[in-house]
């Protein structure tokens, strides 16, 4: 088991459980001496995220926020953090895993004498888990919490997971669904030249039906929308352990481009996980603004709304895009056109156009944005 984060390396020698208990002990020792309890958590916002030129990854900065029990605006969050820590400690005690949802229900109860619950929404316990990842230096998977599985994969790959041998090429029309924790997967055989990761499950189904992965000898992978940690970790392992190039296929809009950005550089909210999740040599295959012209997709344009435009303008200022001429050009073209295009617009050229022509051509011609 290997902690992923680039934060608090010194905790690495301890087990996850000892680390959590250590956080608690720190507080109880203080309380016994009359020190008001307080925890320190690195700030998770763009202002405390740095882009490391050398590794080409986002990295969390040094700024810490304090969470004090005796501060009315922190009190409930403080309790949430400690309560979730005790729940995770309990899971580690008995060696069982649970889902994010389970943790939410384990923490949820009404505080006596009030109408407030310890947690009202799952996002609150999820946040507490993220905070504990940061404080402990262990990923939530290390702390025995798994997210929902999401996303499918197909390809000429044989793996071993929890004692079962699985062939990604023989999983029927749905493919193999990717679990949230892929740490314990073993790759027995990987026979592929590259991986295409796509934003949309519908496109994945198209390619799977066309046996694209078989014809092109590649792996196709997707999730619905933003990629989960399990997928990112799986992609990273395939990239680093099997040196497979990864190409990203998304809609031609700022949200699609950000999916690529997260995969490649890491995300702002999980900047502390970049080390284990970001894949520097990932490439963007499409849909690009140039594709729109080349394949005359203009008639499938959807106008950018104000939110889209604002997002493009925000993204082009990101440190990791700011000096990238190719991306600046894409942003400029998108703003000029004031329009976006979905991947499925390619189907207008024929239902198998994407698998027969678009992708093979692009890969053959090495047409990527990096």
């Amino acid at each position: 088991m290997e902690p992923w984060t680039n934060y608090r390396r010194e905790t690495m020698t301890k087990t996850p459980k000892d680390t959590l208990v250590g956080i608690g002990k720190n507080l109880t020792d203080g309380i016994k001496k009359g020190t008001p309890p307080k925890i320190h958590i690195p700030v998770r916002s763009l202002s405390n995220v740095e882009f490391d030129e050398k590794s080409q990854k986002l990295r969390i900065g040094a700024r810490m926020s304090e969470r004090e029990f005796f501060n009315v605006s922190h009190t409930r969050k403080f309790l949430q953090t400690i309560e979730v820590a005790s729940i995770l400690k309990g899971l580690l005690d008995i060696g069982k895993h649970s889902s994010l949802r389970d943790v939410f229900y384990m923490a949820k109860r009404t505080i006596p004498g009030t109408k407030t619950n310890v947690v009202d929404q799952q996002t609150e316990s999820d946040k507490a888990i993220e905070d504990l990842e940061l404080m402990s230096g262990f990923s939530r998977e290390n702390l025995h919490v798994n997210a929902n599985k999401m996303g499918s994969v197909a390809g000429n790959v044989i793996i071993e997971d929890s004692g079962d041998t699985i062939n990604w090429g023989k999983m029927g029309s749905g493919g193999w669904s990717i679990p949230s924790n892929v740490e314990n997967i073993q790759f027995n055989k990987v026979n592929a030249k590259y991986i295409i990761y796509m934003e949309k499950a519908a496109v994945w189904e198209r390619l799977h039906e066309d046996k694209f992965w078989k014809k092109q000898n590649c792996i196709i992978m997707s999730s619905q929308g933003q990629s989960t940690r399990g997928i990112r970790r799986l992609l990273q392992r395939l990239s680093s352990e099997h040196k497979l190039p990864i190409y990203v296929l998304t809609d031609n809009d700022p949200w699609g481009i950000y999916i690529y950005s997260v995969l490649k550089f890491g995300s702002i909210s999980l900047a502390h996980m970049s080390e284990g999740l970001a894949i520097s040599n990932i490439k963007y295959i499409g849909v690009t603004c140039d594709d729109v012209e080349k394949y005359q997709l203009q008639r499938h344009y959807i106008a950018l709304n104000d939110k889209d435009i604002a997002r493009v303008k925000q993204m082009r200022e990101y440190e990791w895009f700011k000096h990238n001429k190719a991306w600046q050009r894409q942003f400029k073209m998108m703003l000029n056109a004031k329009a976006k295009v979905e991947i499925q617009a390619l189907s207008a050229r024929g239902i198998t156009f994407i698998s027969d022509t678009y992708l093979p051509e692009k890969i053959k011609n090495n047409e990527f944005i990096n």
């Binding site: 507080l27 029990f69 005790s86 006596p112």
Partner: protein, 588 residues
Amino acid sequence: MIILYQTTKYPAHLSNIPYNSEPKDYKMSSGSSLSVTTKDSERVSAEQLAKGHKEVGIAEFFARNKHLLGFDNKRKSLLTTIKEAVDNALDACEEAGILPEITVEIIEMSENRFRVIVEDNGPGIVKRNMGKIFAKLLYGSKFHSRKQQRGQQGIGISAAVMYAHHTTGRPAKIISKTNPKNPAHYIELTIDTKKNDAKILLDEEREWDKEHGTRIELDLEASYQKGSQSPDEYLKQTAVTNPHATIIYVNPKAVQYVFARASEKLPKKAKEILPHPYGVEIGDLIKMLQDTKEKTLLAFLQNNFSRVSKAVANEITANARMSAKMRPHSIHRDGAEALIKGIHTTKIMAPSTDCLSPISSELLERGLKKEIQAEFYASISRPAIVVNGNPLQVEVALAYGGNQTGDSPARLMRFANRVPLLYQAGGCGITRAVTGTNWKSYGIQQSGSNMPNGPLTIAVHISSVWVPFTSESKEAIAQNDEIIKEIKLALQDAGRKLAGYVKKKKHAKKRLERANLFERYIPEVAHSLAKLTGEPEAVLKHKLAEMTHKEELVARLSELHDTNVEYDESFANIGKEEEEAHLDPDEE
């Protein structure tokens, strides 16, 4: 007939008639198309009309306009009657230098009929004046005097006598004694509204077991109800603002209240003063010039006005470009006007405030303390100012928080010359000043120019030799800009004191609320931490509880409160509307 002649004079009636037909039609005869307005038989001539014109007697006027005097309805009539009698009693005692002892009794005779008896230990009334005082409107000693008194016009008690007679047909019964050696005079009288004079029905000497004093008994149509506009409330507030008086009150339910004298000292006797030149109007001045016995203008000015020395009188005449030696009788309208201009271009000292007898802010505050169990009290006495040449002084007291309800408009208690004002709050200048003050800046809620909202009672007292009331019933102060401004200044002074307290309290309360919040979270956090670390939960709980400093905060908050030992719950409940009778559990 003459009648149509007039009609034709008015072109308006002719507007539809072709112009060329005018000459012919002008000589009207009956039956012509022009008898538009009336039939002959309906028209009344000016001569005839003139026969209908006659002088309206002052008493007749008020008999018909009882509402102007405070006899609008049965409930109010009861209060007004008591108020006029008590005001007179207090004024009489104070003038004679006697510590007042007043008995008020209301007896319910039958439905809507009450007997009111008010007795004082004042100097008594000489026999020859009794009829006029009690049965002649606008007769009295106070109208012409310039000193602070409750009564002003000499209307009140006669109006009560008139109202009583009109509603029950019964005369007023008055007994008065001026000297312990002589017997008392007893008279029964009604008012002759035509002549505005007394109609004495019985006049005799009687033995009365009292050294001196006056007692009046009136039967009137009225209704009795407790509440903020009740005689109970009126007498209670009167007791508060007149601590030198003992008031014994028996209400129609035969409950006796004794408001015992709290001070053996009569209020500083208000001095009578001459009018201040700044307040004199031209009509008054002309009359004064004609009536004076002085031989020169200089002497006239010096001896008829306050704050006019020889030097000042000389300056006035110089500024008016008039000779100081002029004979006052020779000065008419133009001269008087020049004189007024002269007065206003001369700097004259403000009138002396000897003529005022303020309650003192401490006393006003003490009154609130007796009535309201609050957390904070503040009071302000402003220096006297001059309004229309008359000195006027404003005093304000506030009571905040405590057992007052927080989500209703503030309670306003209005007083003028020690008399509580219970009616016409809406039209009163005092109310205007309160609603026109920005209470938000003192931490009190207020929406727009409304009464502030919150656990607040405001008492405002105005003392002046001439309080400008909105009507003869003396229920509300006129909305005079200068007076409103002065009241606002007083409210602002008091408001600033209040703001300091409200701010401190809010701060302390917020800290306590925080401590309470932590207190609820402590068991939870202690539980979670114990689960995480294996440390004993109870120890963590205890240690964390210590860190909230809650006891300290509670103590600090209660220290902020004024401790009010003067609060008197039974006193506070006098005049309050009766609450629903609650069932005693033992009674089942």
